[in-house]
Symmetry: none
Subunit: 246 residues, 2 copies
């Protein structure tokens, strides 16, 4: 039983290392919950914890804030984690493997054991000690000429990629109706032709066939559903009437 639980992939833990502003912790919590992550760990938050600035910017992600755990060191925060990723925006000259948010998400989903994503302080990022705890570097592939990604945005991109794998199995259910049966489409095309015939639309005679084909293509390509075909039949019926109050 415990073995099974342990081998089931679990959502990653988000670890904010020495975060400065409570507001940013709140925003990170909100970003996490947007994509279904709830486990937040804080390493030595500058202004202590709890921080009254975190709640408002969490915008309702209270559960994440309330359950956040505080640790003195990054090593303590990831002690129970099997897979630690150090996120960085810029590429470092590092010997560790570098993965994208997408690759990390795929790994987390196929891995047994807990995963942790480390995010550094707002300005300084992760220091070399923090990075040394990680087996891999997670780098967001960003515009090299403008790479000031804020903390919550880095978190949301990682959470988003994780959630994509989470929902992959779910078939996309669409509300869309299928295209109308061909005979209904034919009815529409015939309706058009019947109205256009007396209006000299298919003249000259030697172009008539090509003109019909063009019209058919224009009406076939949309793949209208039965309701849409019915709407257009109604349009045609109205167009063929005399104006009102004439």
């Amino acid at each position: 039983m415990p073995k099974k639980a342990e081998s089931t992939p679990q959502p990653p833990v988000i670890v904010l290392v020495r975060p400065q502003l409570g507001e940013n912790i709140g925003k990170a919590a909100r970003a996490m919950l947007n994509f279904g992550l709830t486990e937040l760990r804080l390493v030595a938050p500058r202004d202590g914890w709890p921080n009254p600035d975190a709640g408002p910017s969490a915008a309702g992600a209270d559960i994440v804030i309330e359950q956040a755990k505080v640790f003195d060191t990054t090593a303590d925060a990831v002690a129970d984690c099997a897979h630690v990723y150090a996120t960085t925006v810029r590429r470092r000259n590092d010997t560790k493997p570098v993965v994208s948010p997408e690759e990390a998400a795929a790994e987390i989903h196929s891995a047994a054991g807990r995963s942790a994503l480390l995010f550094g302080a707002e300005r300084s990022g992760l220091d070399i000690q923090d990075v040394s705890l990680a087996r891999k570097i997670l780098t967001v592939p960003i515009n090299p000429e403008f790479s000031s990604l804020n903390l919550a945005q880095a978190v949301i991109l990682c959470a988003y990629e994780w959630s994509k794998f989470e929902t992959l199995e779910q078939p996309t259910v669409t509300d869309q109706l299928p295209p109308a049966p061909q005979e209904e489409l034919e009815g529409l095309i015939t309706h058009f032709e019947r109205l256009l015939e007396p209006k000299s639309y298919f003249f000259p005679e030697d172009r008539a066939e090509a003109t019909r084909r063009t019209l058919r293509n224009v009406l076939t390509s949309p793949g209208w559903n039965a309701l849409e075909v019915r709407t257009l039949r109604g349009v045609l019926t109205h167009l063929s009437r005399g104006d009102r109050q004439r």
Copy 2:
């Protein structure tokens, strides 16, 4: 030469519809530039434009702020765009196709013609009129129990997905003509409406708006190219003529 330019995929335009806070416009600009997008359009920003609050939160994405263009209506803002996506967080009961940020990014990369992503105001989102301009709905697959995604975060997820494709292979350029620019589509819709008006199609009065929207949706979904739109304009012109030899 112009033909080639037209068939090369271009980065999408980000359109913020009736944004409220300058701060959020700045954050959206920053999110865009993080992933290489630079073309921002604003529809009727609540506090006018330029807005002194935008610059600081853009955090250096000045080029995006400075080049932002302002429009009175959403229709004006997307007039030159062939592919318009209306972004929403929650699923709507809508008949338009729904795509994820990833699917939209893939489409934008393989499509010819400009693409626009519409983002609604902070609280209210896009209204039904804005959505009716779009051929597709772009929905971020978010935690259904906590879906308060802020504007800049919605923008960054879309920009991020776009940039992922940008760094993959060179985009495949298709021979297909792109959908007609939005203003040509508007011309077609207006043409239909003008002809239908005197035929009592939009009666009773209290259903008129919904009827117009239905018609607009039926005519928007196909993504007809300029030639197809021209064909249909010709069809309408003929239908409005008297029968020959009468």
